[in-house]
Symmetry: D2
């Protein structure tokens, strides 16, 4: 079904941009673990809108209320259920959209899929707001993974045409990645951060938008996690990642660049590192045949420009069946990629925790 | 589980490179349809090895024997089961590989996942040979889809650094794509085909390899097919596509290129085409919010260079725990992307047929 | 996973007896349908505790609050999410149970499965209270099915050794069954209702309990619904039905009684009823080979005596590892079967709606 | 989908009564285990037809040929695939059945579900012959479980009205159950075996049939296996068991009998057995809240009389839409329950192995 994923750790999300609440259920979390709620809130804040000038000015506190599965901050063995009340809804912003679908939004396809009565205010169930429950679930998963020595951090590999300093895929500097988590622009290179800030402020002025690439790195994974064929690490990750709005590409390790290279250039040669078998390069992104090889997991996620722009656009009137012009109201991010870093970290954590449940008795 | 996928049309594959047979089961195919076996064989030949000088010289007839589910060429209502006998096994080529894992192959991770006794001759269950059953299932799916007006064709968008002429994503020339299906190099531009031929013959001489990008286009899809969030067209496609060996990236429509562009450049403006709502560009690749919008579905798949190269490579001895050198024997393709086009078409067909089962009573 | 089921209509439940709230998510409900909330409330009241002298005196209003998926009483296309706040918790009743597991309850197995920290107050996530969200989801399913001409009604076939008048399985009197829905004891025969009332009041006085058999009948099902082997009507129903606490047996049509009969006695002979093919008996319970045959679906569900009794029982101290005696406090039903009728109707409705989604485009 | 089940150990079956072959795929079996093929053959013989006078005289050798996943008798890490060739087909026996559906068979419902072209000779994909692949998979599961100290044995609790001696559900005599496995009538009480033999020979003479109850017992299960709600031991077992033809009821422990009893009679009191927590009775059948409690798992399966009888029966002509008479040809068992014991053991083994995969790293 559309709104859930996971085999041993199963996540369901619910809600729409303009309903009473959004939220989710997570089943399979280990009983008895205490969750650091402050840390979770800090994590959610990284995704939350309205934090700085680069983002939409829509403010949502994004405070999860736990309905079940948690007693005094401790996971209690039953499915964890939570909701986040919607507080900042300007439904009137969407009035003309009932008839005029926004380009590169799901307004039109949702109408064709669900019929005229589907509630698509603010993007409805397709809204990027649905990434908030993913971050609640994923923020908890990140805490549980850290207890097992697994760290996950992301950065903006690219915004528009501006590229961050490359990550060392064999020995990534996880501290550096951790330290940029709270930056408005999660790039390692401060000079590039400035360039992106200028770019985004200009886009905001122009009423335009741009895309970006989020790259995420996971270290400390056990070797031999995953499966061949259709249930490997890449398969499950890609399946879930494409559930995050605006994503149009997913790649691992050397990714699409490898297509133009030679086998002798990109094959990851094995070598001993003391007693440990490792590879001298990591173009495989830590995965061979769907299974972890002990090197860092590296994934790139391509995010298209925010489709909500303020420039006048061509569209059609569904009722009149004629061409028309559309100007979008509301409060939107010039570059959603900026706020997507914690979302990709969260989803990666959930999928890894799900795989870990295959081999970790405690997580069954 | 690892070896199956699908919700309404469910595919399971079995076999290993060097066992008695490979094969599969397909459940959910509509009862009473007659399959054109000659057409299926011609389709399988596009993937089969040993067809020309650009490929491995391993010859496998790849003739499917139907064990159940087919009576006199007609689908009989029970799961379709078939096998392809393995005929051209040189197990001795793999003797030294039991101890020395091949770089960028699954030899090492399979050992870590399944233990020492896993049968990894020729790549075992991770072998690209497992794409043959996918092509049997997918070749049948392609026939069923064509009856419903859905066409799927692919081409080599890129081999090494050589790029084919771009596809018009709004009005793709499906006849041109169909006509190159039997070319050894499935590019539209004949000049580029020559360049790739030279490249691949040189790589063969050098004992090296390269990668490529397969782009696939599907036309005739009903509007409104798919789902939001985690069960959209992109989600299911990506999940299955990453089950094909050597694939390290999947993107749709404008793909990763869009990350560097502006919303005002890449938003797909709606417009009326007579009575029909369409868009003037198709950077969305025919999908919005996981759901088809009536434009052609366009997907790019990034395939890494064949990891089997004949140059000497660095590796380790698993038993001695020390660095060593490895020279791979056997018969391998300098560029597996060349034979991957029908595989990606097949998988795309299976996933689309699976979605079609959601709305097409006959396919339940 | 443990807390969800369904393929086209997917239900997840959450909550524990003594947490903040219980609730659920239902995905796949058709967009645009208006739900009769008053009717839903009346349905929930049939399951709710504290309605009469025959039941536990624990009062729970069981009012669902819809968090998402419903706008002004209309299903809006996104997953329906709801919660029911827990209001009548006497946690102190369960203090001694942390160490002394109640016989024939899940206290002990939950501890062994989830560890010491699992929250088992009131039965935790294993509590029969979790049938309230099932009734919310199922009450809605019943309304949707009725629009399609499908009626589902149940009765108490047996309580203790007292048996209700038998149902005509070929031509069941659905009006009679509907009319007893609001009876405290859902038996067709008023004389038997009196007998059961006396029995239950005596059990209450004695601090003892008894079991019963709920029989449910569904009419108006399309012919040809279901699947062979492991995904037939009986398979899915049984899987979900055993998720309702206290159920130890499920049978269909003639059920276990047929084991002692002859084929010539129980085979359902086909006959024409005008233009329609029907059978003269219905020992198959409307299902052959997992697929509906147009006759009424008939299922029996065996419910054990409420394990919570007030008589002193033998148990053990988990901490002391020694035998001990236990007297259960709290407020419990002498016969949970009495309140189980709407639950079984609800679950049956959800499973049938799920199957209907396979063939009904609108319900995909 | 219809023809597969399992989460960690996934089983798919294929084939029809009168096709080229039947068979299956089992994924998730542990790599490196050697299977005792002779023992497997002996197990399959218990189910195979034509073994004695009480059964159908249709002889099928039921020899599995392993297509993949096994090298020299050892599980090799890839999915285990096998086929059994169909050898004894008398298709002509079924000629008149194309138009006249057999009472209480799936002929009619299969036609309504799959259309006129479905191959229903011999019951098609609904045939009890499909239990042979289940026995191949389950026979292997039984061997793997025995290595882990888990034994599963069944007996005929009842045939017609003749009941075997009751099993002690707390301390079952597993040796006695094991010793009757090769008896034509798997009852513990030899006197009852004689009575059943007489009954069945008389039914054979009369061209009639009867039903029976198979009871299966599993010992040595780890405590805490299973899940609450919809994914407990009972849920998964029932779901799969109803996939075996002719089954109309499933119950556990005290089963339906408990419905007429008192809580004070049937509650399973805990007591210490040395250091071990156990219960003095086992009406729960070893399961509380879907989870094993360390007592033997006890399940009853109700099997209806073989619907194929030789007496003239009433049916209809599908083409003429009129009542007609039908006399069934072919070779059928007067009581399929007799051959069902190993099938129920096999299915039980597969489901338990599937659950074990949740907690047993080796079985992931």
């Amino acid at each position: 079904m559309a709104s859930n994923f996971g085999k041993t750790i199963q996540v369901s999300t619910f809600g729409a941009s303009h309903g009473y609440a959004i939220g989710g259920i997570v089943e399979g979390l280990p009983c008895g673990h205490t969750i650091d709620i402050d840390e979770l809130r800090a994590f959610l804040k990284r995704r939350a809108p309205g934090q700085n000038q680069l983002q939409t000015q829509r403010k949502e506190a994004d405070t999860p209320e736990f309905l079940a599965g948690m007693v005094d901050g401790m996971l209690s063995g039953s499915p964890l259920a939570f909701m986040i009340r919607n507080t900042s809804q300007h439904s009137s912003d969407y009035n003309n959209l009932r008839d005029i679908p926004r380009p590169s939004h799901a307004d039109f396809t949702a109408r064709m899929r669900y019929g005229d009565k589907v509630d698509m205010r603010g993007g409805g169930h397709f809204s990027a707001r649905l990434t908030a429950p993913l971050c609640v679930a994923g923020g908890i998963a990140l805490q549980l993974l850290r207890e097992k020595g697994i760290e996950i951090h992301g950065h903006l590999k690219q915004v528009g045409t501006i590229q961050d300093a490359p990550i060392n895929m064999v020995h990534p500097d996880m501290k550096a990645l951790a330290s940029i988590a709270t930056e408005p622009i999660a790039m390692v290179d401060p000079q590039k951060r400035n360039e992106v800030e200028t770019l985004v402020m200009n886009l905001k002025k122009d009423g335009d938008s741009t895309g970006g690439i989020v790259e995420v790195v996971a270290t400390g994974l056990p070797i031999g996690l995953g499966n061949p064929n259709f249930d490997g690490i890449e398969n499950r990750l890609a399946r879930v990642i494409f559930g995050v709005p605006a994503i149009k590409g997913v790649s691992f390790g050397g990714g699409f660049d490898m297509c133009a290279q030679l086998g002798s250039e990109v094959n990851d040669a094995f070598t001993m590192d003391g007693d440990k078998i490792t590879t001298t390069t990591n173009n495989s992104g830590g995965i061979q045949g769907g299974i972890t090889n002990g090197l860092p997991l590296v994934m790139q996620v391509g995010i298209k420009p925010t489709p909500s722009i303020y420039k006048e656009q061509h569209s059609v009137s569904l009722s009149q069946k004629e061409d028309t012009l559309l100007t979008i109201q509301g409060r939107h991010d010039p570059c959603v990629a900026l706020r997507a870093v914690p979302v990709i970290e969260a989803v990666t954590a959930l999928v890894i925790l799900d795989f870990l449940g295959d081999i970790d008795h405690e997580l069954r």
